[in-house]
Structure formats: C-alpha cells, structure tokens
C-alpha cells in the first residue's frame, strides 16, 4: 500500500478514537488495527513508525506498541 494512503487510513482511525471518552484511546486504536488490518499491513505500519512515523497522528504512534507484530 502506498505510504500516504496507509498514513491517512491510520490517522482516520485515530481521528475517531480521539473523540471517544476514557483514557485508553491508544489501546482502542491498537485493537482496531489488530482486528481489521491484515498482518502485512500492520507490519508496514510498524516499519513506518520505526522509520520515524512521518505524517502519523501521535495517537497511532502511541498505539503502535500494542499493535501485534505479524508472525
């Protein structure tokens, strides 16, 4: 997937959970990514964060530690 598209999709998810109550928004972002993104897409996102996470919402970066690494 093109990196810009992946960043936009991840930021959209963060955008929703920013608005949700509670203090576990990052966990909710991670849950959503784990539940709906195929492992390879998650791997790409993790790589992108490790490479600096350009363009990503800070909530996605906060969530990335809870995103399951693909086997």
């Amino acid at each position: 997937m093109a990196p810009e598209k992946m960043v936009m999709m991840a930021n959209q998810i963060a955008g929703f959970f920013h608005t949700q109550p509670g203090d576990d928004q990052a966990a909710k972002v991670a849950d959503h990514l784990n539940d709906f993104w195929a492992p390879k897409m998650r791997g790409q996102l993790i790589d992108h964060v490790e490479a600096g996470g350009a363009g990503l919402d800070p909530l996605v970066i906060e969530a990335i530690g809870m995103v399951r690494q693909p086997a």
Partner: protein, 965 residues
C-alpha cells in the same frame, strides 16, 4: 401466529383482509366468523362460497362499480354489492337468490355486448375473469345490438362492415416494452387505476371521460404508457381481469402451465415471485401474494427485467487464456478447473499462502457465498475473503455491532404500516427499493409524517399525495453533523425517552453522550453553514421525530459510503435509542440493503475478519467450531479487504483472485487503481453470467448460472431467509455452488455436497443465529427471519424486543470530522452517485433487458445555475473531472440537486463514473467514499481519452477464439 401456515392457495377473495373483533354471520345457511370490517364478499369466499365479481380484487379496496357481486341480506332493502358491504353480527346473506342471479346475468350481458368475442385467439384465454364470470352466471345469450343503420355503438370494432371508422375505438398502446394496453378489451372496472394509486402509489392512471366515454388513460391526453408517469411496476397488469393490460411475453408465448415460487435477484427487498413457465421456458414473473416482504407487489426489475438470463451475450462455456492480451479459448469444465487450480496453487508456492483470495457475491445465494469463503479459509488456508458489501454496508456491520451488538435491521417491512414518523436518510427507496418505497408511501398517504435527509430532492420529498414534512438538503459529507444536531435538539430540549434509556441502555454512557452532544458546537445554528441546512428545519425535524409517535429510521448507502459512514450509522442508532424507538412494531433502525443478498453474504462470513455469524477469527472458541467441521486449521489473523487486496496486488504481494458474481472494475471506486491491481495479478478467475468489465483482466472465465437455474436461499434486508428455487436447469451446466466445489476439490478440498440443503445444514450446525434454519422449515413457512434457534424457533421479526443483542444499548460519541475530499478552485463541485429505478447496480443484468428504454445512458444532474456559469445546456456532452480521473457524459439540468452538487448513476461501463471517484474510505471499514468527490464540470466534445482507450482494451480483451475443429 402470522404466516405460520402459508396460504398456498392464491385465490383472489375480493377485498383486503381486515383485523377486528370476530363477527359471525350466516351465508347461504353456513355460519361464518370473520374479523369486523371484513366484506360480505371476503367472508363468503373464505367459506368457499365465491360470489361472482369483476371490479373487486383483494389487492385494493372495494369499489362497488360492476354490480356483479350483488347479494340479498335479510332485513335490508335492495341488492347491495357484497364487496362494499361489511359484515354484521347475525347477518343472513343469500348469494344465489333468483333475484341476484337475474341481475348478474343482466350485468354480464351488458358487459359482453361491448366486448369482442375473440376468446380463442385472445392472449388471456383461460386466464380471463370476464370469461370465467360469463360462465359462472350462466350467460347464454347477448340480445343487445345496435339498431340497423344506427352506426356502431361499441369500443371494440375499428370499422363497421361499410368501412366507416368507429370513433370510440382506440388502437392498442404497445409503447411499454413489457405489456400492452388494448382499450377494445377494457371493461372500465378501474382495478388498474386503483392498483396504481393504492398499491404502487404513482397515480399514473386515471379514468378519462364519463359514462360510455369512460376510458383508462395513462398520464395526460397526449401521453401513452411509456411517456406517462407509469413506472412499469406491473400492478395494473396484475389487477386487470381481462386481456386489456397483458404481458407481451404471454401474448408471444401463450399462457403458462406451471409455476414455481422463488425470490427476486435484484435489490435487498427480496420480493417473492411465482415464476410461471411452460416446460423450462419462462413466460412471466408474477409477484407472490404470500411473499412476506412484498405482499404481492413488484417493480419493473423483478417483474419484467429477467430477459438477461437468455441474453445472447451470456457465456455458457468455460474459457481460459495465459495472458490478458490474448483472446479467450473455450475449454471443457475439467480443463478450466484444472488450469485455475494449478495456477492458484503455483502462486501460493511462489508467493506464499496469503497471495491469493476470493470475493464473494451479494448476488449469489447464502450457500454459494458460504462455500466461497470456506474455499479461502479451508482450502487456500487464509482469510482473504471479502464481499461487495465492503463497498456498501460494511459500516452498518461495524456501527450497529458497536451500538446494538449485531449487524442487522431491527424490523420487518410490515413494521412500516405502524410507523407514525419516518426518517429516510441517504436512501431513495422509490428508485432503489421500489416495493418498500410503495409500502412506505402507502403509510404516508394514511397520515404518517416523513423527514428526508438527502442532498437531492428525491421523489419521496414531493410526489403525488406525498410530501415530506422536512427535507434536510445537506451538503454531501455532513451526515454526522446533521444527525448530531438532531440529537442535540432532542437532548437539550429534554425530548428524550428517559425511561427507555434507563432500562435498556448504559446510563453512564448516555450521560457522557448527553454531555458531548449538548455542547453548543453541535447545535443546529452552529452547523447550519457547514451542512447547508437551515437550523429551523433541523430543530423542527428533531422535535417531530421525538414527539411524533412510532419513529422509524430507514437508511441507505448515502449514509454508509462516506469517510464517516460507520460514525453516521452509530449516530442513527443513538437517535433511535434516545427516542425509545427500538423493540416494537413501527420503529427501529433499518438499513436498506443494496443487493438481494447483502445481508446474507455478510451473515455467511464473507468479511476477512469474521467467520459466519459475525464472529471474529481471533476467537479460538469460534475457530474451533469450524476447525472441527472442516478438519483444517484456521488462520487467526484477519485477511485482506477488497481495497487492501488491490493495494497489495499493485505492490506485487497479491497474485490470484476468484471473484464470483461481482464486477469490481465497474463497481469499485477509482477505476484506474482497480485496473492496475487486476492487471498486476497472475490469475484472475471471474465466475459470472457475462464477460463483465473485471473479466477484461481475467485469465479464467467460469460461466455462472442465473437465479432461475439454482436452488438456495437469499436473505433480504429484514433478515428474512427466502427460498430460491430452481425453475430451469443451468444453461451453463452447473449451479454456482457446484462450480466452487469443483475448484475446491481440484485443490484438495474433498467436498461432497450434493444439494444446497446440505450446505445450509452445515451453516445451521456452526452458526447459532441459524441453528434452527432448515429447508423444510422455510418450505413450510414460506420464509424465516434469523435469529432462528431454540430461543426463537419461528424466527425473529423484531429484534432487541426485551434487551439488545449486546445487553445494554451503547451510546457512541459521534464527532463530526470533515472528509479529506475537499472542494477547491480546481474542483469546486461535489459529486454524489446513486441509482435509478429501471437500472440495477453496474447494469450487467438490466442493461441486457428492455429496461434500457428508460435509461440508456448515465446522465450528470447539475443545477441550472452551475450549468449556466459553465455555459452548459441540457443534453450537452460534459467533462467530469476529479483528481482521480475524468470521464464524459451528457448533462441534465435540474433543481433536484442544489447548486454546488452534481449527481450521476453508475449503471453503464462506457461512462465509468468510478474513474472519477477516489480511494477515500470509511475510517473503520474502508467502505469507499462514493458519495463525496470534488469535481469540476466543463464543456466537452465527446468521450475522454480514457474512455476511448478503455473501449479499445475491452474490445480486445473480449475476443474469443473460434472453437477448434
């Protein structure tokens, strides 16, 4: 219990059913007990004492014009018509007294004196109520004739013997492609006019003139049926007792001898039809009166547009090719399956187990869909399965799952009869779900109020005898802002149903929600400029919905196909919970599903993250059920969604696709991206009736079977599982489930299904909401709504009656977040897309029928103001461009769209509206944002380069080598 015993007898008993206290009367000495309000005619028919009739039919209210049904009633004067006389306690009725028999014979003699006696060559011979009644009353002689020399006084002879023209004679109107109107056979019973009004609600027909000059007339004096407002639903044809309104197929082929009840394969209403045939030749499709979704009504698609099944472009032999620039080669089924299986396995060996996947179809049966997702999970060994519901109702799955606990409409269609206030948001049911649209309009004419939330002025906003109380003509992309503004009014003005919320919902979550939505930034006044909707209209609509009695919300793809589609669905669920409109007849949240089996394809585990019954693949206890049933290990990770498959293909990681009954190249957004993805794959298998657009990029073509040729079930928008019955054998040799099984077995699947009922048994054994579903049950009951299991063995017409599926209803915070797709100087207009009545989806079926007479090309609707500043006139070729691509089509100037908004349909591949739509999508589900694209419109000379290149590529891709000698 409703419909527990299916009245397989379809006899017309004259007047509609009533409900009321039981009333007992005597008819010809027999005691009969019927509900209060029932007509004497209906009561008699129910007792088996049929009273002759002509102007009465049980689809419309009694009219009392033909006087054939007169009876005598003890203690009453004269001979009242039994159709218009309600029963009364202790009434004594005589249906066959010498007096009424004489009257009836006299009435019939008059009718027949103005009717041609060409019964043997008439298309309705054997299917004519006038003929039947002449027999029933014992008419033996017609004494009336014009006196000698007085000229003709009838409507059926064009000329008299001297050649003089009969001015009362009118020629046949053959303008409608599917039926004819022959005025010479008309008895002016008004059944057609009343059906058009009461059943369909179009008011296209009228009786023109008085007395002997009375004629049925479509539209104004200068109109014929085609040019009138007639929507060709067939209700008038169905109601006509003679050959006056007659299907052309019956005229051409003769009256049918057998019939099979089956389910329409068009939209999510899921109408039941009787397929009427001679042998295996289909003569006509007639709406089935006992069909619980349609109650005997139909639309132009289901009733008439089935000719595609025999269209000359249908492909009946499997074909393969090594590369997509080669012509197709016809091969045997064995060779095609072997070729496909070898390629797919080869791709997995070379590129990995997850390099291939499937797309299931919302047009195929539950059983077929189940097998396709099983193919990828059990045979390919991954979860790369998705369905076209991805691009329509996936946000419904997520949104209703989060709030209520399951992805399903809460009501049955009958529920609308008890609604007092209806919100229709992002849906255009009179075009896209016509039979439901008619049922809604009937309720509106009876007094229910309507709020339409739509950028366009759809027909529901204002049409004959219908007017919405509020039309919130919002800017595309601002659904969440409008829905939250409505909730703001309901909460801040204290209009919410506290008792309901306290007992049925999580009170803490409600309080969080109430605090959120009460913020002044959600007030109608605050979002007026953003949404383009006057604040007073929003306030008025919110108050009406909260105070108006039973409130129901119906929504469509105008809700889901947005970057905030899932959020809007949650907002709608919030509105229903706020106002206590869940869990009883007349209320609820009702997604109108686009295709016939969207609900079913979602139920059957088509999505890459969940197994049948909406259970996530990560759950070991769920995987275990299927691992035991299938004898394989199931991947616990979600697979790729359609857009992800295409992205992966472009990147080189996704190489093979089995696509059943779905044309992703035409229907999915950003056509160029889809084409690039398909072109990058090494094995694309298209399983379809026709060489669709996706097949231009395919290496294997497996011919599909039509819905007329297969057994199985469809599940409609009400969760109603309807039977699809084989009415003829597959012209391509196999039903679609058999083809999937051939492919699975060629790849080591070892499947042994011999009939779809065995597949349903496997579904029931593995999926709790289907646990009680069997073919025997559906056959006995006509249909069943899931959940159907030990808790509700007869199915579930209404959901969440005593509690939500998830326990407490959950209010979700729904903040408005603007889409990334924004207008600007280069692309100042917003494009939104939709459907039209006569065409369906990508048009693969309807374009291959006479329906194209109503819609032969996609048009761009543009406001006259926007057209004028661009120098555009009605019918001009215009260039429609977005940052994704451009196409050309003709302009239609109309104020149905507001300035700044343009609209088109996507039924025709040569327009390719989706060249223009973008890859933006719903945040939760990746459902594409079809409904908002920033565009520019300008004058054009004709097709764009893309369109010309595309047409050439398509022409080359469709070449088929002549079969080897």
């Amino acid at each position: 219990m409703k419909d527990f015993v299916i009245p397989w007898d379809e006899k017309d008993i004259g007047t509609p059913a009533k409900s009321g206290a039981p009333v007992t009367l005597s008819i010809d000495g027999f005691e009969v007990t019927v509900p209060e309000g029932t007509s004497v005619m209906r009561a008699a028919a129910q007792a088996g004492l049929d009273i002759p009739k002509l102007c009465a039919t049980d689809s419309v209210e009694a009219f009392g014009s033909c006087r054939l049904c007169v009876v005598e009633i003890d203690g009453r004067r004269g001979t009242p018509s039994s159709c218009t006389t309600p029963v009364a306690e202790g009434m004594v009725v005589h249906t066959q007294s010498p007096k009424v028999k004489k009257i009836r014979r006299g009435v019939m003699e008059l009718y027949i004196s103005d009717h041609p006696l060409d019964c043997l060559t008439c298309a309705a011979n054997g299917d004519c109520e006038l003929q039947d009644m002449a027999g029933a009353v014992g008419l033996r002689d017609v004494r009336y004739a014009a006196p000698e020399g007085a000229g003709i006084a009838n409507h059926f002879e064009a000329r008299d013997t001297s050649g003089e023209t009969n001015r009362a004679w009118l020629p046949k109107d053959e303008s409608n492609p599917y039926f004819t109107y022959d005025p010479s056979k008309c008895i002016v019973c008004s059944r057609c006019v009343r059906a058009c009004e009461e059943v369909q609600g179009t008011f296209a027909l009228t009786i023109q003139g008085r007395g002997f000059d009375s004629r049925v007339s479509a539209g104004a004096g200068f109109d014929d049926f085609l040019s009138s407002d007639c929507v060709s639903c067939g209700a008038c044809v169905q109601a006509c007792p003679t050959a006056t309104l007659q299907e052309k197929s019956v005229i051409e082929k003769g009256t049918p001898a057998r019939s099979v009840v089956t389910t329409c394969a068009y939209c999510g209403v899921g109408c039941s039809f009787k397929a009427e045939l001679n042998g295996d030749e289909l003569i006509r499709m007639v709406p089935w009166k006992s069909g619980a979704a349609n109650r005997g009504h139909s639309c132009v698609k289901g009733r008439f547009a089935w000719g595609y099944a025999n269209h000359k472009e249908r492909i009946l032999n499997p074909m393969i090719r090594d590369r997509i620039d080669e012509p197709w080669r016809e091969v045997s089924w064995e060779d095609a399956i072997e070729f496909a299986a070898t390629r797919l396995r080869g791709l997995q060996e070379k590129y990995g187990q997850k390099s291939i996947g499937v797309i299931t179809s919302s047009r195929c049966t539950n059983e077929e869909t189940y097998l396709v997702q099983k193919l990828t999970r059990a045979v390919f060994g991954n979860n790369n399965t998705d369905t076209c519901a991805r691009v329509c109702h996936s946000p419904t799955g997520y949104g209703l799952g989060q709030t209520f606990g399951t992805s399903a409409g809460t009501q049955d269609f009958d529920s609308v009869e008890q609604s007092d206030i209806v919100i229709v948001i992002g849906a255009n049911p009179t075009d896209a779900h016509p039979v439901f649209g008619s049922r809604l309009k009937k309720r509106l004419r009876a007094g229910a109020k309507l709020i339409v939330i739509d950028p366009r002025r759809t027909d529901l906003v204002k049409s004959p005898h219908i007017e919405a109380a509020h039309h919130l003509a919002l800017r595309p992309g601002t659904n969440v802002a409008v829905v939250s503004a409505l909730a703001h009014v309901i909460v801040t003005e204290g209009l919410y149903d506290e008792a309901f919320i306290r007992t049925r919902c999580d009170w803490d979550e409600f309080q969080q929600y109430a605090e959120f939505v009460s913020d002044p930034r959600h007030a109608p006044e605050a979002v007026e400029e953003l949404t383009g909707v006057p604040a007073a209209e929003m306030r008025g609509a919110a108050r009406l919905f909260a105070n108006g009695g039973n409130g129901a919300i119906y929504y469509g793809l105008g809700v889901t196909e947005h970057s905030q589609g899932s959020t809007t669905v949650m907002g709608i669920a919030n509105l229903a919970m706020l106002t206590g409109n869940i869990g009883r007849p007349g209320v609820g949240v009702n997604p109108l599903r686009g295709q016939n089996n969207v609900q079913g394809s979602c139920d059957m585990g088509s999505f890459p993250h969940e197994l049948p019954g909406y259970r996530h693949v990560k759950l070991p206890e769920v995987r275990e059920i299927f691992e035991k049933a299938w004898g394989v290990e199931i991947d616990p990770e979600p697979g790729l969604r359609i857009p992800n498959m295409l992205d992966e293909a472009v990147e080189g990681g996704f190489k093979g696709l089995y696509c059943q009954g779905e044309d992703i190249l035409q229907s999915d957004p950003d056509t160029k991206h889809v084409a690039a993805g398909l072109a990058a794959m090494e094995c694309v298998i298209v399983h379809d009736l026709f060489l669709n657009e996706t097949a231009n990029y395919a290496h294997v073509f497996l011919p599909g079977s039509s819905f007329l040729e297969k057994d199985g079930t469809f599940t409609n928008a009400e969760r109603r599982i309807n039977m699809v019955r084989q009415v003829m054998k597959p012209k391509n040799g196999y039903q679609d489930w058999e083809v999937t099984q051939l492919l699975a077995n060629a790849m080591g699947g070892d499947w042994t299904y011999t009939h779809p009922r065995e597949i349903m048994a496997e579904i029931a054994a593995t999926t709790p909401s289907f646990a009680g579903v069997t073919y025997d049950l559906i056959d006995a009951r006509g249909s069943v709504q899931w959940p159907c299991n030990d808790d509700s063995p007869d199915g579930t017409p209404l959901m969440h009656v005593d509690g939500f599926m998830r326990g407490k209803g959950r209010f979700m915070i729904t903040d408005y977040i603007a889409t990334e797709e924004k207008t600007g100087p280069r692309f100042p207009l917003l494009l939104t897309t939709g459907r039209i009545l006569s065409q369906y989806n990508v048009g693969a079926q309807t374009r291959r029928t006479e329906n194209s007479i109503w819609h032969e090309e996609d048009l761009l609707e543009i406001h006259p103001h926007d057209a004028e500043v661009r120098g555009l006139n009605e019918g001009d070729w215009v260039r429609l461009a977005s940052r994704s691509g451009e196409t050309t089509l003709r302009a239609h100037l109309t104020d149905r769209v507001t300035p700044g908004v343009v609209y088109t349909t996507f039924h025709h591949p040569d327009t390719q509206a989706n060249v223009v739509t973008t890859e933006h999508s719903d945040w939760a589900t990746n459902c594409p944002e079809y409904k908002v694209t920033a565009v520019q419109v300008s004058a054009s000379n004709g097709p764009s380069d893309w369109q010309e290149d595309y047409a050439e590529q398509a022409r080359k891709a469709r070449r088929i080598l002549p079969a080897a000698e």
